[in-house]
Symmetry: C2
Subunit: 168 residues, 2 copies
DNA sequence: TATTGTTATACTCTATAACTATA
DNA sequence: TATAGTTATAGAGTATAACAATA
């Protein structure tokens, strides 16, 4: 009963929690629509991008980076491998692990996807200068760090843009 | 082949699209955990908050505000009504519509939920002053407007914080 | 015993459609 | 015919568990 009449109730869009939730769903959905011609989803972009940055990592490492569960990752890598975009190779030291590599077709597809992503984000920031964009990015990264999301400056931290949860 | 070697590839967390997606999922999950003792979810907070602001609206109007489909809303209102938190009354002019109202128990539960939400958002913004917080909020609202989310300044625009999609 | 990858099953959520009653 | 609400069914996605191979 401490704040029962002092300050007026906030509407949903005055709460960053709800704004972030709605923005996250909306941008993912929109980016997914823009990716449709390439026949991939945002999560595949996350996988390809991570693998291109850190070639040869295991599925397990990939799972930890993207917060996608092992069971789900199997199917995703299956599909990407079937389409000739990535490849499972023998791991140099751990024989029970696979070493994942992006194939040329995968790198080319990623390049096209990133063009689409860049265009979409340019649309998001419209007439804003690069200073505003970097300020917003920095703010989001800071909130992410505070929210408990792994340090956004670390290369092993990724976002899949699809909201998958790891079972516990 | 325009940008194939000029600028280096951006990591996932340098893309606001992926940051927003991950933040949206994370904050919703975290807020949901904090709400667990009240036995409700973020979407229920959105419903109660909207109904308290606009008492007597129909289910259809509530659906449009929160971007939740009619079919899903039936079950949500059923549950809230069963728990004595909201009530379906006769609509004064449209006999085929229901007029939704928050009951005292629902208002009390919402008050507790908003205390939890305020505490969580204070944690998100830690040592930041109210000026930083309002700047971030304004930025998010501006991006939301640009992204095509309905004008965040309009009272009939809400976010459910759960990512439900309306079938098309 | 713990880890990596895989498979199978059950469950949750949601998309689609169809229905009733009002207008 | 169109709208508000409801119900039922099927499908997509995911959690849980269990398994084989390796360490």
């Amino acid at each position: 009963m401490s704040t029962s009449e002092g300050r007026p109730r906030l509407r949903l869009h005055e709460h960053p929690t709800f704004l972030l939730a709605q923005l996250g769903v909306h941008t993912t959905e929109r980016f997914g629509s823009l990716l449709a011609p390439l026949n991939i989803q945002p999560r595949h972009v996350a996988v390809l991008s991570t693998l291109l940055d850190r070639s040869g990592i295991s599925q397990q490492q990939l799972c930890e980076s993207l917060h996608i569960h092992r069971n789900v990752m199997v199917g995703m890598v299956d599909e990407l491998e079937r389409r000739g975009l990535v490849e499972r190779r023998r791991h140099p030291v751990q024989r029970r692990a696979h070493a994942l590599h992006v194939l040329p077709a995968g790198a080319e597809l990623l390049r096209k996807a990133e063009e689409i992503l860049d265009a979409y984000e340019a649309e998001l920031f419209e007439s804003d200068g690069s200073d505003v964009r970097s300020a917003v990015l920095e703010t989001l990264q800071r909130i992410a760090t505070r929210a408990g999301v792994r340090d956004a400056s670390q290369p092993e931290c990724g976002g899949c843009g699809a909201g998958e949860q790891v079972p516990h």
